[in-house]
Assembly symmetry: C2
Homo-oligomer: 258 residues x 2
């Protein structure tokens, strides 16, 4: 059975989702997927015998709204994990017997397919569990000594320059920075990535999806809404202008120089 839009999904299949008895699992790449108008708050999470697993893409941590959402889900009793390797698809699985597959995002209303066939549900469940097992617990992820950083505009420009293979002197000139300042930015990035070499920093940056910022770098002169339209996604999911105090202004001065 295929449904169009979250509203129709809620109306025609909401009761199936609310009927979860043992386990409710969902994987979401953004905040809008599974918003289930008028219903989400009714999905029980602190029910004694119900296990709720929520798997989110790491990009949701990029802004305050996303972080609030995830913290709220965890506070209400759901097991929340963060996937840093991307979610191949977005789904809800109820009691391992019923699955809802979200169609690809795009203009117009999104389509959802409800499946009950044991073989299909088992496959979807297996894929979900594989992603779940590879993901990191939200609390651990947030409290890690060096959680994946979020870069500000200039941080992303520096990242892009590093990724281009240019020498520091050339990169600095192109960004309108002095060599010393550019190298300060690189050093800050290295600290954020907890890397001991530039190669390691490159691996980390890609691993953490930081290089995704490079694509946004090319769109930096466009208003955020325009970027959202081009990508066919809601504006709130586009982080074109991430601000942040995530880059320490200046490392603490070390006294007693050797």
């Amino acid at each position: 059975m295929t449904l169009r839009g979250e509203r129709e999904l809620t109306e025609r299949a909401g009761h199936l989702l609310l009927g979860a008895r043992h386990e409710f699992a969902c994987a979401a790449g953004d905040l809008l997927t599974w918003s289930l108008p008028g219903m989400r708050a009714r999905i029980p999470t602190d029910h004694g015998s119900l296990t709720v697993r929520k798997l989110f893409d790491v990009r949701l941590l990029a802004d305050e709204e996303g972080r609030r959402h995830l913290d709220e889900a965890a506070r209400r009793g759901a097991l929340v994990r963060i996937s840093t390797t991307g979610l191949p698809y977005e789904t809800i699985i109820v009691d391992g017997r019923l699955a809802v597959l979200a169609g690809p995002p795009g203009p117009g209303e999104r389509s959802y397919t409800v499946v009950r066939s044991p073989g299909v549900v088992a496959n979807v469940n297996a894929l979900f569990l594989a992603a779940w097992n590879a993901a990191a617990d939200l609390a651990e992820f947030r409290s890690a000594p060096n959680p994946p950083p979020v870069l500000d505009e200039e941080g992303r420009r520096v990242l892009a320059m590093l990724g281009s293979g240019r020498k520091d002197e050339v990169a600095a000139r192109e960004l309108g920075l002095s060599l010393r300042t550019y190298r300060r930015r690189v050093a800050a990035l290295m600290r954020l990535l907890d890397a001991d070499s530039r190669f390691e920093a490159g691996l980390r940056a890609r691993e953490l999806g930081l290089a995704l910022a490079q694509e946004l770098y090319d769109m930096r002169d466009k208003p955020v809404q325009q970027i959202a339209d081009l990508s066919g996604v809601p504006r709130s999911t586009v982080y074109g202008n991430l601000k942040g105090d995530t880059v320490p202004r200046q490392p603490k001065k070390i006294q007693n120089r050797a």
Copy 2:
């Protein structure tokens, strides 16, 4: 309907696969998936009105058998593409109306689920098309100036050392190589990755999933001098053949060194 093993799949659903009229699509991560004993050769590929799409994981190019397989599929008329971002699942889709989903590989016989539900097949097809569109044509991939390289055992060790953030001197010592030789390996890796800086190399390495690779792909049949000439560098600076059998033939001379 769920089947166990390629033989049962062939016996009970083979006629459905052979019945493709318009389009036959499959995604495979290894050579064993969809081996379909006694049947694979019977799937028509040069049929005038039948389009056959075959999507393979890039790792299949790592060895001779895989390359032969893919070349043969292309020779017989199939459209063949290479996915470098990994295949989320392995499937066959017939005429956009029937799909077979392969269960995860593991001990014992693998399970396959045959689905006909339009909504499910449409979703599976959409996922396949997304992966297909993101993939590279086999011929273009093979002829690209710098196709994604694959590494031999030592190449992977060097990659691991680079990724660990160690300084060259330390890394060389730990691998039992001289500093010069280690730096030759790094230089070879940089050339394979077509990177101008170590940071860029790190991004590329992660991007291409090099840690999974096995063998040098390009230039493997050329003499070292020719490789040096092509790169415009002296022969002594070229580490040409990153093959498993390039274990140093010369015992390490550590004696009498100041």
